[in-house]
Subunit: 134 residues, 2 copies
DNA sequence: CTGTATGCAAACATTTTGCATAAGC
DNA sequence: GCTTATGCAAAATGTTTGCATACAG
């Protein structure tokens, strides 16, 4: 589960570099479309399909975190390694990374108690942060 | 948050009844498309758009639980009241309801530790149940 | 040179919407 | 009868894919 055979060598292209740099430069979750717009605004135009493909491959490589927003679109964010969750302000989008050893253990226990194996979980928290009114 | 002004009275139609009965009859998560197919198979044909509209309204009314599957489609399930989570077999769809007092408390604590208020969370677990091979 | 990555447009899948018609109350 | 609900087809969304071309190695 840690390394997969790189079916393809992954080439170092301008586009891939642009996406990686953009993701490295921010701390927020961005959708493929946002990344596409950001890049175009920065003059580093990259095709939308390429942005999708690149973000997916970065996610598989573990360089970015992928999550599905409540509305259904995928969003990506540069990410520290390892499994963890997020606490996201639903007003301003500010994100706090949470490593939840506690929850991991709980999840594993619950799964096996019910006879489930190979279990994973998805947990995201949404709230209003202390910098946001109402 | 318990009662909302019924903008529209909600009429008792054959279609709505069919959807509600179908949802009442099963214990599994069904997508709108599946419900549509099930109904057609049962001879109680209902337009797909109507199924979507009805499931949404049932979800808003709290009669069914709505969740977004990892693949991105919405799925609905008849549901006991109150907040809880699910452990879902990613092969056969079998679902176990989990009331996670432990997690609720943990979530609340983490949120307030980070200065977040009005926090909610989304947690779903996916695995392989003991009736499913590999 | 060889073969992967890109861009574009078309294909896709899911969900939403406009509008004429059917039907609940 | 007045008005909401339905069905259909079209539109909207977000994402993926086929294919010719560009370009990294």
């Amino acid at each position: 589960m840690t390394s997969q055979t790189p079916a393809t060598p992954v080439r170092d292209t301008r586009q891939r570099r642009a996406v990686r740099e953009l993701m490295a430069s921010t701390d927020a979750f961005r959708t493929a479309q946002q990344v596409h717009d950001d890049l175009r605004a920065a003059g580093e135009s990259v095709g939308l399909a390429t942005v999708y493909r690149t973000l997916q491959s970065l996610a598989e490589a573990g360089e970015v975190d992928a999550l599905r927003q409540p509305e259904g679109e995928m969003a990506y964010r540069r990410c520290s390694d390892g499994h963890h969750h997020h606490l996201i302000c639903r007003n301003c989008g500010r994100t706090v990374e949470i490593s939840a050893t506690e929850v991991e253990r709980w999840a594993e226990r619950v799964a096996s108690q019910h006879g489930f194996r190979d279990a994973g979980h998805e947990l995201e928290m949404f709230g209003l942060c202390d910098r946001c009114p109402d």
